[in-house]
């Protein structure tokens, strides 16, 4: 009798573990399955959509709850440098862009926990109200501003942070090609020759 009880307990525990593990794996591995990619950026048009599938909806709820649907705003993410390495607080990057075809856009840095980095630099983002959007522009992504005209502070962002480009009321079909998206390049890293 005791053996049968233990067998049922083991069956339930293993079943729960398998179910939870497979769900976690599906949401991690499946994250890339519904994303679109262009240049260094990736995004999903299913964000907020009433037509999103259950896996997409779960990932968006976890990583971007209350995000607007793609008809209103597109959220594009960048989390690797030009060498496909994770972004690091101790590196200095330059973001270069030009005109982005949207009524308003911003680029914000988020720490790996999906919140703003824990610093008091008040340099969380850049946005089109502060940049001459019709001419080429650059922004420094680094723990200190230096001489940069535009700066997003990565202080306390640790390793694995990301940048989110919000494009509100973007032109239809945005992004048409990679040329309308900013590009990131590494200026220096402690273990990389300048």
């Amino acid at each position: 009798m005791l053996g049968r009880i233990l067998a049922w307990v083991a069956t339930i525990v293993i079943g729960l573990a398998l179910g939870a593990g497979s769900a976690w794996w599906a949401l991690q591995a499946g994250h890339g399955g519904f994303m679109q990619h262009m240049g260094q950026w990736s995004w999903s048009r299913e964000t907020g959509s009433t037509g999103a599938g259950p896996y997409t909806r779960a990932v968006i709820a976890r990583d971007g709850l209350l995000a607007l649907s793609a008809d209103e705003a597109l959220y594009l993410n960048l989390d690797h440098d030009e060498n496909n390495k994770a972004l690091r607080e101790d590196c200095v990057y330059e973001l270069a862009g030009g005109s982005i075809p949207a009524r308003w856009w911003s680029i914000t840095l988020y720490a790996p926990d999906n919140y703003l980095a824990q610093n008091n630099d008040a340099a969380y983002s850049i946005d089109s109200t502060h940049i001459d959007a019709d001419t080429p522009w650059t922004a420094r992504i680094a723990p200190v501003r230096g001489e940069a005209a535009h700066w997003i502070s990565s202080r306390a962002a640790r390793r694995g942070y990301s940048l989110t480009l919000r494009a509100y009321n973007a032109d239809e079909g945005f992004p048409a090609d990679a040329s309308v998206l900013p590009t990131l390049r590494t200026i220096s890293c402690p273990d990389t020759a300048p």
Binding site: A26, G48, A67
Partner: protein, 173 residues
């Protein structure tokens, strides 16, 4: 069926049920948590709750924009339709509605409503109130309404704070 096979089948059924319970449950659990935070544990439903200006200390909703002013209303239609009014704002603003499964089922912005807007929210399938100009059907009794106003500077944010004082989120009487 042998006893061993019974355990294997039972284990697989439990695994499948757990898998789908988690996948389908995550959006509702996340929304329930957000509803709780916005409404202070349901003490402030059907009213706008202004979020403080977004800083590194902001932890209510993931990935907040520091360039926007946010007002959130945790709506509950169990007592009837809810009317939402949004005062005009000279720059980008939007009213977005999210069902309890996190779907963004409605958005209205300043391109369509330059002078501000009034929306009457009802449960899907219920009778539309008379004289309500813009009626929106919610797929769930509970959800979250969010007003975003573009406010990248402190002075913009202060102005948005003043404008938002005229916003309304209340049960329709």
């Amino acid at each position: 069926m042998s006893e061993a096979r019974t355990y294997v089948v039972a284990g697989l059924l439990i695994a499948i049920a757990t898998h789908f319970a988690i996948v389908f449950g995550i959006p509702r659990v996340m929304m329930h948590g957000a509803f709780d935070r916005v409404s202070a544990h349901s003490a402030h439903t059907n009213e706008w709750n202004e979020a403080p200006r977004v800083t590194a200390a902001s932890r209510t909703i993931v990935r907040p924009s520091p360039d926007l002013h946010y007002d959130a209303c945790a709506y509950d239609l169990s007592h009837g339709p809810v009317v939402m009014r949004v005062a005009a704002w000279p720059n980008y603003w939007s009213l977005s509605l999210f069902a309890d499964n996190s779907d963004n089922f409605y958005v209205l912005d300043d391109r369509e409503a330059h002078e501000g807007a009034e929306v009457t929210l009802i449960r899907a399938g219920h009778e539309h109130p008379k004289d309500a100009a813009r009626v929106v059907e919610s797929p769930s009794d509970r959800g979250i309404a969010l007003v975003r106003r573009l406010a990248p500077t402190q002075s913009d944010w202060d102005a948005a704070h003043t404008a938002s004082a005229h916003d309304v989120c209340a049960v329709l009487h």
